[in-house]
Structure formats: structure tokens, C-alpha cells
């Protein structure tokens, strides 16, 4: 009994070190709430610390960060956020927890349409939501537009992840923005009727489904293609990638829908200068190259070359619609997914 009590006290002691650590603030630091996984951003943050001596403290979470910032109010320790999807950035902006930043470096590195006009948020990379088409079963030119996906010729041939996933919600919102809610609803019903199976899995799972012959076409983000094609640990994924032709959509019209990953500075940031430095670093050559070569995203900085593999898919025309417009239509898009019962799959 005494011994088990001792063991217990030891654990409690170890646990309390967490409190001790969080209380000490000696070196210059910046506190980051990240929606992106630590293993993706760690190399960049390590380099940032090496170059500047500023320590980066990170919490990674996919939800609840806005509520955490709001609840803590003036007391909030967060200096900056790192997100994917314009929806999250806009949500933070609408909640009034961001502060404007003006930086010559950021203005030079990031094209104007990929940052907020008053510097409330900054895009760091873009990713295109494209079609993966089977090399064997989809003829070149058979699929050219988002509208084609709703065409009956693709009946039973399309795979997609949940219509409620942020990437799909943004895509649907972009269609609402361009064509109106009624047209978007018709389109969504058309796509649903063409589905090969109930929406499920992530983007990678759709590529696998094409390889396995479950479907011929999938909607997915570009970088998944790069990650599969270069996967040394799981060589079977190279076969999935090999079965797929990267197909950019609406190239004759408004261009392919793109989303971004970005960063912003929190209103009550205690380490404001360090937070700005961090975002400047992430928009700079070193970080942009890592984004491009390891995660196969499109860097925002024009002078940084895209990855050769990504380049091999060809140049594409991106939809230049104001991204905040898309963010504002997310709720409408999400409700549309409910209305057409998209996630119940074909035949429901």
C-alpha cells in the first residue's frame, strides 16, 4: 500500500512539472496555436528558433482554439495562429480576436489577393481542389469542369470524402459564390447522384478507391498526390498515384478552386513583434521551400520554385475570387449539404 502510494506521488510529481514549465518565461518566445500537425511544421519552427533565438511554444488542435482565445480574453497567452482553410481565419477575424499587421516583408512575399487588405491574416500556401481521374477509365478531355461532375455520364463513377469536410464546404461555397445557391444545389444533387459510394475516408482514401476500381473520378487536394507518389515507407501508395491523372478544372472559365493555409496575429499578443517575425519567416524562402518540397503545396512567394513533381502536373489557372466571400458562404454551403442529404450517398 505504502509503495503504491509512493509510485503515485512520483507520478503526481512528474505531472506537476507541466505546471512548472509553463510558468517559466526566460528566453524570448512566441506562443502559437496551430491547426496544422506538429510533424509538418516542426522543421520550420526549429529553423526559426535557430536563426532568431526565439522559442516557439505550440499547441496543436483542430478545434476549440477560437473559444480558448475568447474565454481567456486579455489574459490569453496566444500570440499567433497557424491554420488551414480560409474558413478558420475568417472565423477568427469575425470574432474580433485578430490584430492588423503591416510588414514590408509580408507585403513583398505574399500577393495581395492572398492576404487580408488590412493585414488581419496572411496566406502562406495555396492548394487546389482538383479532380483525380483514372488514367485507364477516364479519357483525356472527358472531364473538364466542376459542372461535368454532375453530368449523368459520370453516374456511379465518383468518390469523395464527407461533404461536411472543410475542403468540400469551401468548394461548394465557391460554387454558390459564382453561380448562386439554386445552381449550387442542382450541382450538388447531380454529383450526389453520380457517387459510387457513400462519402467517406480522407482524400488519400479516394485515390486508393480509384486504384481499386471503386470509382473513376475523385475530388481531392493537390498535395495528396505528391505525398502518395513519393511515399517511400508505403510503396503501395505510389501505385495509387500512378493510376491517377491530375486534372485541373474550369481552365477555360473561372479557374480551379483554391484554398489556402495561413497565419494571423492575435489581438492580445504579448509577443507581437516575435509573432510578426515568425509569420515573416514562414513567408520567406526557407519555409516556403519546405512547404513546396515536403508538403507539395503551392508557395505564395512567387520567387520560390514549386516542387518539380508538382510542376509536372502543369500550370493551371486558379479561381481568383475573394476568399473571404467563400468563407462567408460556408454556413450556407454546409446547410446545402444537409438539404440534399449529400452524405447519405447515391440512391438515398
Amino acid at each position: 500500500m505504502t509503495r503504491s502510494l509512493l509510485v503515485l506521488l512520483t507520478f503526481i510529481g512528474i505531472g506537476l512539472t507541466g505546471i512548472a514549465f509553463s510558468g517559466i518565461a526566460a528566453t524570448p518566445e512566441v506562443n502559437l496555436y496551430s491547426y496544422r500537425q506538429p510533424f509538418l511544421i516542426k522543421p520550420m519552427l526549429d529553423e526559426f528558433t535557430k536563426q532568431t533565438g526565439i522559442k516557439v511554444n505550440v499547441v496543436y488542435a483542430k478545434k476549440g482554439m477560437l473559444e480558448k482565445i475568447k474565454a481567456a480574453g486579455d489574459n490569453s497567452p496566444a500570440d499567433a495562429v497557424l491554420t488551414v482553410d480560409i474558413g478558420r481565419l475568417n472565423e477568427l477575424k469575425e470574432a474580433g480576436v485578430l490584430q492588423p499587421v503591416s510588414s514590408k516583408i509580408l507585403d513583398a512575399n505574399i500577393p495581395a489577393h492572398l492576404r487580408h487588405p488590412e493585414g488581419l491574416w496572411f496566406g502562406l500556401t495555396t492548394r487546389a481542389r482538383i479532380a483525380f481521374a483514372s488514367r485507364d477509365r477516364v479519357r483525356p478531355g472527358e472531364l473538364r469542369t466542376y459542372a461535368d461532375l454532375a453530368d449523368p455520364k459520370f453516374k456511379g463513377r465518383i468518390c469523395i470524402r464527407s461533404g461536411k469536410h472543410a475542403y468540400n464546404v469551401a468548394l461548394i461555397a465557391s460554387i454558390i459564390a459564382h453561380e448562386g445557391a439554386a445552381a449550387a444545389e442542382r450541382w450538388l444533387r447531380g454529383v450526389k447522384a453520380n457517387l459510387a459510394r457513400k462519402p467517406q475516408g480522407n482524400d488519400r482514401a479516394q485515390a486508393k478507391a480509384i486504384y481499386e476500381g471503386v470509382c473513376d473520378v475523385a475530388i481531392a487536394n493537390t498535395y495528396y498526390m505528391g505525398k502518395m507518389a513519393t511515399n517511400k515507407k508505403k510503396p503501395e501508395q505510389k501505385k495509387w498515384a500512378a493510376a491517377i491523372r491530375v486534372t485541373f478544372l474550369n481552365q477555360q472559365g473561372r479557374g480551379n478552386h483554391v484554398n489556402l493555409s495561413g497565419a494571423a496575429v492575435i489581438r492580445n499578443a504579448k509577443n507581437r513583434a516575435n509573432a510578426v517575425k515568425l509569420i515573416e519567416f514562414l513567408s520567406g524562402d526557407f519555409a516556403q521551400r519546405i512547404y513546396a518540397s515536403q508538403n507539395f503545396e503551392y508557395p505564395v512567394k512567387a520567387s520560390v520554385a514549386i516542387d518539380p513533381l508538382v510542376k509536372s502536373w502543369g500550370q493551371f489557372k486558379a479561381d481568383t475570387i475573394n476568399l473571404e466571400k467563400i468563407a462567408k458562404l460556408r454556413s450556407t454551403a454546409s446547410k446545402l449539404v444537409d438539404k440534399v442529404r449529400f452524405n447519405e450517398g447515391p440512391g438515398s
Binding site: 510558468g23 496543436y60 461536411k164
Partner: protein, 577 residues
């Protein structure tokens, strides 16, 4: 003059006595209220003015959410009840090959997080998975169109996975109940001409009802709050809807309203069950705890008994553990290059702290209920324990709001009084995580201990008090030794659950603080479980030891066990067939 003083002091004294007696009541209500504060915070968010989401929901997906949620609960509830009580009865009452292994092995799936099993099952059973590859080779099928195979990512898949990881709750509690049953009632049923089966259905099962109900309630609450598994299997449940309203429709108020509706639903369910057995008591009046009769099973029966116990262990534990080991051998670098041992220490210490506190609070509340605080304490404790049914991320927000308020008050006070800023003393440290765990897992400790105390006849309390014990002394000297096994059970359950917990840990943790579960999550969230397999395997492994400990304590907890006296020894001889 003196007469009036006496007249006055009489009622005063009585009032004081009552107050003193009520000290427990007041204490219990205060503690319950503290634990329930996050729940109250969630309810209060629900009242914030916001767009009306209900019109949209009821016109579109609400019926679907309700249908899928009820079907899921029905499936998992029935599955865990059958597997849990069935296997518990087999290993407690029958003798068949492997019984002693199954005794504890049946608990092992408890250590496996549902999202891990979901991943492994899908990985093995889908088109490219091991099973279908074999089938294609054996039967010469070429493509998917050549044969039919059930959809894995479906309601059925979710029910299967959740049943497999959750049945141990029912097994654990019903087995403890069977072990604690006085052998007399079973003897009586046999004397009255019932066969073993009838004895099970008409005597043992009804007597174990409070314990089984606790087990199934825990299972159902866990089923209700789950997001990871239902998202993986693409099942649109009410909880999936809560997250959708919150994150896609930007309505935290709407999400809180849905969560509140869910809490009311759970309270009503529990209330109905309580009402259905009101007036019944389940404590044992006989202290004749001789060795249980064991029916020796032979031939086909023994085979089926062994098979019935093997299948859940293989599917719920051996399969995921083997697959994870396979991944871990291949991808161990990713895990080891991270601060693996720090994560493990964080997981263990957090879980241990939460387990000890949850047991203390659970015991305090359960005993407070028993002392005659009655309805008030009971209602408070029951409300505090529905945190188990609330989706984790929503509960996290409920934890964060009151803590942040308190923090800012403390900060202002400290600045004014001492000129020292405190920052986020509570909500920015692991105190917030532990607080969240307590609110979430109180149901485990309180439920277990309430059921256990319920089996001690009130005449014990009466005797102790007549002999001059205060309520505190009676708890320490009478009840505590009697429920020792259940204390450990409760603690280990909370421990194992904390090891697996995700949403609260992720949202409430301080900067740079990683546990095994959060480490696994950063990969698993992108369906890349292989990369973090060693982490997942460690969560499972860390759960095994408590699980075995659990099983040993329960086996030892049977009253009369380990202290054989002449009377029971002779009885045993007459009993064994």
C-alpha cells in the same frame, strides 16, 4: 426564565444536529456542483442569442441524426449486454478450458482506443485488406464487381467496433456482481427446481441489475459522445451533428443547445430505469458466501463456451495489438525520434492524478447519497456524472470558460495586491486537463461506487452508528474495507479511460505538452495511424497492467474469499458436483 431557555435550545439543538448531519449533504452538493460547473457552462452557452439552427436541422438532417444515434445505441447496448453478461456468467459460474485466462483476458479490449480499432478493422477488412485479398486468391475473383462484401464504413461497422471495445464495462461490473451474489439465492432457485439457465435468467441476472445497468449506461454514454469512430465510419449521429453545427455553421450556441438536449435525454433515460425498479432493493441479507457452484461444461458446450470468450478477445484486443505491432516494427522511428518517453510519463501522471481524485470524489458523493442526503445529493451527483455523455470538445469549452473567468479574477487580484501577474494559473496548466477528466469520468467512479455501496445492507450502517461511529468513522471502518475492490476498479477504469482520452486533452493542454494520445492523434487525424503505431501500442500496453490488476482484485473481492472457515469448507464439498 430557565424553562424558556430550555424550550428555546431544544429546537436549536435539533436544528444544529440536523445541520451537522447535513454537513455531508452540503459538502456533497458543493463537490458535485464544482464537478458539474463545466456542464452548467455548456448549458449557459446554449442560451446565448444566436441563429436558430433547429428550423434548419428539423427540416433536413435531424430525423436522420436521431435515427442513426438510436440505432447505434440500440446495437451497441444490446451487443455489450449480451457479450458482457454472457461471458461474465460463463467465467464466474462454469468450468471450461481456458476459463482462468478469460477471467482477465476478457477485459483487455478496454485498453484499446475505439479509433485505433476502427482504423485497424477498416484496414484489414476493406478491399485491399488482408481478408479480401485472401478471398480473391482463394476464389479467383479479379475485381470488386465479382463478389459482394459488406460495406465496412457503415453503421454496422461502427456498432461492431464500439461493442468490441466497450463490452468490458458490462463484463467487469456484472462479473463483480455475480461474484458478490450470495450463493443462497442460487441454491434456493435450484431447490425450487430451476436448471442453471433458469437460475441465471430468473435469479442472478435480475439481482445483478443495478450493476449491469451501470455498465450499460456507461457504454451508452460513451457511445453517445463519440466522434472519432462515427466520423471514421461515416455515421451521421447527433454528436457528429453537434460538431457540424459548431464548426461548419459557426454556431457554438447551437452546438451547446444540442449538447443540452443530449444531457436531458440521458437524464430521462436514467430516470426511467430508476423508476422502473423503484422500491426494489438489491443488497444481500445473507452472509453465506461459500465458494460458488461451478457447472462443469463438457464436449460441445465447453467448446462453445471457449469460443464465446475467445472471439471478443481476439477481435477486440489480439487483432489490433498484432496489427499495431506490425506497424510499430516498421515505423518505430517516427515515434522514437519524438520525445516518446516524456509523452508516456505525461500520460501516466495525468491519468494517475485524475484516477485518484475521481475515486475520492466518487466515494464522497456515493456515501453522501447513502447517508440520507437523499434526493438532493443524488440529483446533484447524477447531474455531475452526465459529463460522460457530453461530446469531449464541447465539454472542454465548458471547462475552459469558468476556469478562464477564475484565472482573470485571480490575475487582477494578484496584480493589485502583490503587483505580480499570474496569467492563466488554472486554464493554462494541466489543472484544466485534470478538471476536465474529473467532470468527464466522474460517472465511472461514482457509478461503480454507488452500485457497490448499494449492496451493503443498511443494517450495517445502523449497527456501526449504534456502536458510536460517526458517519466518517463508519465509512472508514465499515464501508471502506467492504468496497475496497470497487475503489480499485473505479480508479483503474478512470485511469485507462484517461490514457485514451483525446478531445479534452488536446484543447485544454498547455503549450508544448504532449501525451501519447495527442501524439497518436496528430497522425491518426489524417488516417496515418501506422506512423504513430508505437505510441498507440504503448497506450494499449499501459492499459494491460491495470486491466490485469483489476481482474485480480475482483476475483479477490468476493466476500468470504481468501478467509476460508470450516463452515464454508464443508459447504463447498457438498456444492461441487
Amino acid at each position: 426564565m430557565s424553562a424558556t431557555t430550555i424550550n428555546l435550545s431544544g429546537p436549536l439543538l435539533r436544528a444544529f444536529r440536523r445541520f451537522r448531519l447535513d454537513g455531508w449533504t452540503v459538502g456533497a452538493v458543493v463537490v458535485a456542483a464544482l464537478v458539474a460547473t463545466p456542464l452548467i457552462a455548456v448549458v449557459s452557452i446554449a442560451f446565448a442569442p444566436d441563429d436558430d439552427i433547429w428550423a434548419h436541422l428539423s427540416a433536413t438532417v435531424l430525423p436522420l441524426y436521431i435515427e442513426k444515434t438510436l440505432l447505434l445505441m440500440l446495437g451497441v447496448g444490446a451487443g455489450t449486454f449480451v457479450i458482457g453478461t454472457g461471458t461474465a456468467w460463463l467465467v464466474t459460474m462454469c468450468r471450461f478450458p481456458g476459463r482462468w485466462v478469460f477471467n482477465w483476458a476478457l477485459l483487455l479490449p478496454l485498453a484499446v482506443p475505439a479509433y485505433v480499432l476502427a482504423f485497424v478493422v477498416t484496414d484489414q477488412l476493406e478491399y485491399a485488406g488482408t481478408l479480401q485479398v485472401w478471398l480473391r486468391e482463394i476464389f479467383g475473383w479479379e475485381t470488386r464487381q465479382d463478389y459482394w462484401f459488406p460495406e465496412i464504413r457503415s453503421l454496422g461497422g461502427a456498432i461492431t467496433v464500439m461493442t468490441l471495445v466497450l463490452y468490458p464495462y458490462v463484463y467487469l461490473l456484472s462479473r463483480a456482481a455475480f461474484l458478490e451474489q450470495s450463493v443462497c439465492v442460487l441454491e434456493v432457485s435450484r431447490t425450487l427446481g430451476k436448471n442453471p439457465w433458469q437460475g441465471f435468467f430468473s435469479v442472478a441476472l435480475p439481482l445483478a441489475r443495478p450493476a449491469i445497468v451501470v455498465g450499460v449506461t456507461l457504454v451508452l454514454m460513451e457511445t453517445l459522445n463519440d466522434l472519432g469512430t462515427v466520423e471514421f465510419f461515416a455515421v451521421p449521429t447527433f454528436t457528429a451533428g453537434i460538431y457540424d453545427v459548431w464548426l461548419n455553421m459557426n454556431s457554438i450556441a447551437g452546438a451547446a443547445q444540442m449538447a443540452t438536449v443530449m444531457m436531458i435525454f440521458v437524464l430521462v433515460l436514467i430516470g426511467i430505469e430508476r423508476f422502473a425498479r423503484s422500491g426494489q432493493r438489491y443488497h444481500h441479507t445473507s452472509s453465506k458466501y461459500s465458494t460458488l457452484p461451478s457447472y462443469r461444461l463438457r464436449g460441445v458446450r465447453a467448446f462453445f463456451a471457449t469460443a464465446a470468450c475467445t472471439v471478443p478477445v481476439i477481435l477486440g484486443f489480439a487483432l489490433p495489438a498484432a496489427v499495431l505491432t506490425g506497424y510499430a516494427l516498421e515505423f518505430y522511428e517516427e515515434t522514437l525520434s519524438a520525445d516518446f518517453f516524456v509523452y508516456a510519463a505525461n500520460s501516466l501522471s495525468l491519468s494517475a492524478i485524475a484516477a485518484v481524485l475521481a475515486v475520492l470524489i466518487g466515494l464522497f458523493l456515493a456515501y453522501g447519497t447513502r447517508l440520507g442526503g437523499g434526493l438532493v445529493v443524488k440529483a446533484a451527483a447524477r447531474f455531475a456524472s452526465i459529463g460522460y455523455a457530453v461530446p469531449g470538445a464541447i465539454l472542454a469549452i465548458g471547462v475552459m470558460i469558468p476556469l478562464a473567468r477564475l484565472d482573470s479574477a485571480l490575475d487582477i487580484f494578484s496584480r493589485q495586491a502583490f503587483g505580480i501577474p499570474l496569467g492563466l494559473l488554472l486554464s493554462g496548466t494541466i489543472i484544466a486537463v485534470v478538471y476536465g477528466y474529473l467532470t468527464r469520468f466522474l460517472a465511472l467512479s461514482y457509478g461503480t461506487l454507488e452500485a457497490s455501496l448499494g449492496k451493503i445492507t443498511p443494517s450495517m450502517d445502523g449497527a456501526a452508528r449504534t456502536l458510536g461511529c460517526s458517519p466518517g468513522m463508519a465509512l472508514r471502518r465499515v464501508h471502506f474495507p467492504l468496497v475496497r475492490g470497487s475503489l480499485l476498479t473505479a480508479g483503474l477504469l478512470v485511469f485507462v479511460d484517461c490514457m485514451k482520452e483525446l478531445p479534452l486533452t488536446i484543447i485544454l493542454r498547455p503549450f508544448n505538452y504532449e501525451t501519447l494520445a495527442t501524439f497518436v492523434f496528430q497522425y491518426a487525424s489524417d488516417e496515418l495511424l501506422e506512423e504513430s503505431a508505437l505510441g498507440a501500442l504503448t497506450i494499449v500496453a499501459a492499459g494491460i497492467l491495470p486491466v490485469i490488476l483489476l481482474s485480480l482484485t475482483i476475483a479477490r473481492s468476493r466476500p468470504g474469499q481468501g478467509a476460508p472457515n470450516a463452515a464454508s469448507a464443508t459447504e463447498t464439498e457438498g456444492m461441487v458436483p
